[in-house]
């Protein structure tokens, strides 16, 4: 057993000497490799965490939301719909919702305005809004209303906590009256309806019934809402897939370079090793270590850096991409999400191909007869 370990260590020693011969090339290779692993792992961690956050935060979303469509655009829902739908069997409660978007000219940000039971003239704002407008409890915010250009003056009674950024960063919560005043909102309409249903298994039948009765209504089920977020954060689709393909291609290129690049010099060296007493298995072990040193190191450096990047630093490198043209971008600290399966796939994609690509082409060269070196 000891001999075996010594043999491995000795051969590893030589593989390191061999790699160090081309220090720049191999260090750059390691750097690039690590970078790719870092990018993919960061994305994997980020998406897993976001997926979980979405499912945990939104688990109590309304059972069903009913919108109304006119000529392919969302339009306001008449309150009469609410009254009639409330009479459907299985519907426990229908709540007409008032919400919309307000474009804040001074800051350039889009705010989401929703209503709750509040005293008129007062608002609760999300921590992002507070940041955007540099406003805190006690300050008065002025919003341009749609009515006669008379500005609406609203006192901030509460700022939502930082922990709720991901759910509520851009919210402005006001009373119904202020909402209707702000948007000159028609009296007997609502933005949409939020339904509470007695039996969740009846949801799709209920949705069908609603759609039948009101051809212009568009019911959205809770499961559909949650699935939207599953697909946004799915690591097997969308942007992530594009990145994965790019990464896999890069690894294939690395592996290809290794696989086809057995130069005459490398061949000669293998011949020399064979002639001084190395067996085929020793040569293959050497090549294995040459590949494994780089791929293993890259994998660990990349994943560790990715973990710290996403969970300690909140993924600052993704911010420009995610932020896009938004003015208001939530600040959040993600709860770590680690999926062994994903990491396993990543390991398999990164370490295995490169390591084996170094061995396969050497197979033939390694089986060369030891006396070949005598002849050259």
């Amino acid at each position: 057993m000891n001999r075996s370990i010594e043999r491995h260590k000795n051969i590893l020693e030589f593989s390191l000497s061999s790699l160090l011969r081309r220090k720049t090339k191999n260090l750059s290779l390691l750097a690039i490799y690590t970078l790719i692993v870092f990018a993919i792992a960061s994305l994997l961690f980020f998406l897993s965490a976001m997926k979980r956050e979405a499912s945990l935060i939104l688990k109590d979303a309304p059972d069903m939301v009913v919108q109304r469509m006119v000529a392919g655009r969302q339009d306001l829902v008449p309150l009469s719909y609410a009254k009639e739908i409330a009479l459907f069997r299985g519907v426990r409660d229908v709540k007409p919702r008032l919400w919309g978007y307000y474009y804040d000219a001074p800051s350039g940000g889009n705010l989401t305005v929703i209503t709750a039971d509040k005293a008129p003239g007062t608002i609760t704002i999300g921590s992002g809004v507070s940041r955007l407008r540099s406003a805190t409890v006690g300050d008065v915010i002025i919003l341009q209303s749609y009515d006669n250009q008379v500005p609406l003056m609203l006192e901030i009674k509460e700022v939502l906590p930082f922990e709720s950024e991901l759910a509520a960063a851009d919210l402005v919560i006001m009373s119904d009256i202020d909402f209707r005043k702000l948007f000159k909102f028609p009296k007997d309409h609502a933005t949409d309806l939020a339904l509470t249903v007695a039996n969740s298994r009846e949801l799709s039948t209920l949705a069908e019934k609603i759609a039948d009765k009101y051809p212009d209504a568009r019911p959205i089920l809770k499961s559909e809402m949650l699935r939207t977020y599953d697909s946004i954060f799915d690591w097997r689709g969308g942007m992530m897939l594009v990145m994965m393909i790019a990464a896999v291609l890069s690894f294939i290129i690395f592996a290809w370079d290794r696989a086809t690049g057995l130069s005459a010099e490398e061949r000669k060296e293998i011949g020399i090793l064979k002639s001084i007493g190395w067996e085929t298995s020793d040569v293959l072990l050497l090549k294995f270590w040459e590949g494994a040193v780089i791929s293993l190191s890259a994998f660990f450096f990349g994943v560790i850096a990715a973990y710290l990047h996403v969970f300690s630093l909140s993924a600052p490198l993704f911010q420009p991409v995610l932020k896009g043209w938004s003015v208001l971008y939530p600040e959040f600290k993600l709860v770590p999400a680690v999926d062994a399966y994903q990491l396993g796939v990543l390991f398999f994609l990164t370490v295995a191909p490169y390591t084996f690509a170094t061995i396969i082409p050497c197979w033939r060269a390694a089986t060369i007869d030891p006396d070949a070196a005598m002849r050259s």
């Binding site: 260590k9 889009n110 499961s223």
Partner: protein
């Protein structure tokens, strides 16, 4: 050739790898342990979301269909006029909810 004890490259590499493996395991364990308390940590947000009946996360505040993707429909991305530009990359990342059953939309 009398030299003091020299550290071999292979030893350095193996030690480094062991450190890597340990750091990796530590982070994974840390992740797992925090994960277990995820519900707890996210309680304030989920409570708020429940109170306010929120349907979407506040991630992309560029446009209506990116701010509330769960509320969007297949037409939502079409803006009001032909010169309206696509919001990138959120527009590519954010699909409309796919209905569980084919309905008339």
């Amino acid at each position: 050739m009398s030299k003091p004890f020299r550290i071999r490259k292979s030893t350095v590499f193996l030690v480094l790898t062991i450190i890597n493996v340990m750091a990796f395991s530590l982070l994974m364990l840390h992740g797992r342990s925090v994960q277990a308390r995820a519900g707890q940590l996210l309680a304030p947000s989920s409570k708020l979301a429940k109170e306010l009946q929120l349907t979407d996360l506040c991630l992309f505040t560029e446009a209506r269909y990116t701010r509330h993707p769960a509320m969007g429909d297949v037409h939502a991305a079409f803006q009001d006029h032909p010169m309206a530009l696509e919001h990138f990359p959120s527009g590519s990342l954010v699909p409309a909810p796919s209905p569980l059953k084919r309905r008339h939309e």
